[in-house]
């Protein structure tokens, strides 16, 4: 549904996003996690066609965002971080207008309007001026306009920022529900939020994607884990994994599922594995010893840099801090 290939975006001489590639499949709920200023909003603005990429190719719902921008935009629902609303319109008027802008006809708007107002629970406020709504309700109005045209792809930039804690919880529930109907990409700088809602997390820092994993895997890395990339020759995957899991400091061992690593490993006739281990317990040495002792060939042992760890330090990991 969303595909970025080597996308870069520069603002003048300053790179905001550098060589980002990822794909979001139909029905996935993907979190886009990173500290403030990491390039989340810029990436989303490129995805939604608001600003063109400096380099690379971006496809949304099968349409190139530059060459077939209008077609791509028809399939996108977008909630920008600032939740832009016309304050002097009522909720119904605002949504109707946004529907028209999206090229919906009156019958379709009327059909969707009731449903959407129901989904975001704005029933009591449908004739209230948007400017009089509380922040949480404005957020809901923003979400309502994003899902009004039942878009294939829903993109939300920090959807829970700046609203009160109770409404944060409600908004998260709402977003989780939306995930069942739309392909969803949402950005956040709050780790627990992303873990709660998303099936997959992309971590971005200084304009680069530094991790692409399940939230649970990221969380385990956050528990001060050390990750080691391993190349093993002349061995059976299962045996190696079992042997490694038996080591005391190893949290988990598994096949490296990253496509490029798999391809290279296959070409070189070896296994590519990833091991998460508790740090400062000599994991690398123990792993090397185990493999050699078993008579397997150790081709690579590469402790991955701890950048992710550092990034997480800048993220909000404690819910309390935010609310």
């Amino acid at each position: 549904m969303i595909k970025l290939e080597h996308m870069s975006k520069n603002f003048g001489p300053y790179p905001a996003v550098i060589d980002v590639s990822f794909e979001v499949l139909k029905g996935e709920i993907v979190g886009f996690l990173g500290p403030n200023g990491a390039g989340k909003t810029t990436t989303m603005r490129v995805l939604t066609g608001f600003t063109p990429p400096s380099e690379g190719e971006v496809t949304v719902a099968g349409y190139n965002i530059e060459t077939h921008s209008l077609d791509a935009r028809r399939h996108i629902g977008y909630l920008p971080e600032s939740v832009p609303l016309y304050l002097d319109m009522t909720v119904t008027d605002y949504l109707t207008y946004m529907g028209r802008i999206r090229g919906m006809n009156t019958a379709w708007i009327n059909e969707r309007l009731e449903r959407v107002i129901d989904v975001v629970k704005l029933g009591d406020y449908r004739n209230t001026l948007v400017g009089r709504l509380s922040k949480g309700y404005r957020q809901r109005t923003g979400i309502a306009q994003a899902i009004l045209h039942n878009p294939d792809v829903l993109i939300m930039d920090e959807p829970t920022i700046g609203i009160d804690p109770i409404q944060v919880v409600e908004t998260r529930e709402l977003i989780s529900e939306l995930g069942s109907e739309h392909t969803l990409l949402l950005s956040s700088h709050i780790l627990p939020e992303v873990s709660m809602i998303c099936q997959r997390v992309l971590v971005i820092n200084d304009g680069r994607i530094v991790a692409d994993d399940k939230p649970s895997a990221l969380s385990s890395r956050l528990l001060h884990a050390e990750r080691i990339e391993l190349g093993v020759r002349d061995a059976e995957t299962r045996q190696v994994i079992n042997a490694l899991r038996n080591l005391g400091m190893v949290i988990d061992a598994r096949t490296d599922s990253r496509a490029e690593n798999q391809q290279r490993a296959e070409a070189e006739g070896r296994l590519a594995l990833l091991v998460d281990a508790r740090p400062n317990q000599g994991a690398s040495e123990e792993i090397a010893k185990t493999i050699v002792d078993n008579g397997w060939g150790l081709t690579t042992l590469n402790p991955l840099p701890l950048t992710l760890e550092e990034i997480f330090l800048q993220l909000t990991t404690e819910e309390e801090l935010e609310s």
Partner: protein, 254 residues
């Protein structure tokens, strides 16, 4: 294309009527042009024409048009709604034309209200219909051009006041070109005169009411419709609307 333009224009027209802006501007327009009109027809033996009204309108629209348009794009930038607009399947051109049309409709409504002056002329005098018709045609064209300049100014920043000042500034500069052109000669003078927006500004000269001398508005006030004047106003409108689209597109590239 047309549907989108209609949606944008419709929304803006409703916003005009929902806010005090349109009413305040219309009241001021009628009051100020009214002064000029009364001054021009209330002397003994004065001519039953709308020349005074035209002078007042041409003068006042330098400020009124940018005041009408200053909100149109600046506010969307301030609210951030421009981001929603341009991630929807809608083109910059459609947005700009739609917004331009909404202000144009308001302007036409004001002109329609000013027909009250014309009515008075027909009741109390025997006016020449030709210059009245050509005068209104000129006003409509002149109005379109000033609105286009105003929209362009509104697209430059998220600050409405900047839009107003820049818009009125450009229009004043185009109006005061004769201050420079009368000091040069030959081709330079002709070229500068060619850019003269309205009338050469001696509006307080009650005998001529400015509009009858120089500038692209003069002939309209005299009852002459010339293709050159029409082309001038239409190109000015077109150029500034295109510039607005360019400004909006450039903003996205940054």
């Amino acid at each position: 294309m047309l549907t989108n333009i209609g949606v944008i224009a419709g929304k803006e027209i409703r916003t005009y009527f929902a806010s005090p802006m349109a009413y305040v501007v219309a009241a001021a327009f009628l009051a100020i042009t009214g002064f000029f009109f009364v001054a021009s027809v209330s002397d003994a033996f004065s001519e039953a024409s709308i020349r005074g009204f035209l002078a007042g309108a041409v003068f006042f629209m330098i400020f009124m048009s940018p005041a009408l348009t200053m909100r149109l794009i600046a506010e969307e930038q301030k609210l951030g709604t421009l981001e929603l607009l341009f991630t929807s399947p809608i083109r910059e051109t459609e947005v700009v034309i739609g917004k331009f049309l909404s202000a144009f409709v308001i302007l036409i409504v004001m002109f329609a209200l000013s027909l009250f002056f014309v009515l008075l002329l027909y009741i109390y005098g025997v006016p020449d219909s030709g210059p009245i018709l050509s005068g209104y045609l000129g006003l409509i064209l002149y109005g379109a051009a000033t609105l286009a300049v105003g929209i362009f100014a509104s697209a430059l920043s998220s600050n409405q006041i900047v839009g107003l000042v820049v818009g009125a500034g450009i229009l004043t500069a185009l109006t005061l070109i004769d201050l420079i052109s009368e000091r040069v000669t030959g081709t330079a003078q002709e070229v500068l005169n060619g850019f003269q927006l309205g009338a050469s500004f001696t509006v307080f000269d009650l005998d001529s009411f400015g509009v009858a001398q120089g500038g692209h508005f003069a002939d309209f006030a005299r009852g002459i419709i010339s293709l050159g004047d029409i082309a001038y106003y239409l190109s000015l409108t077109g150029v500034f609307l295109i510039l607005t689209v360019v400004v909006l597109e450039a903003r996205r590239l940054r």
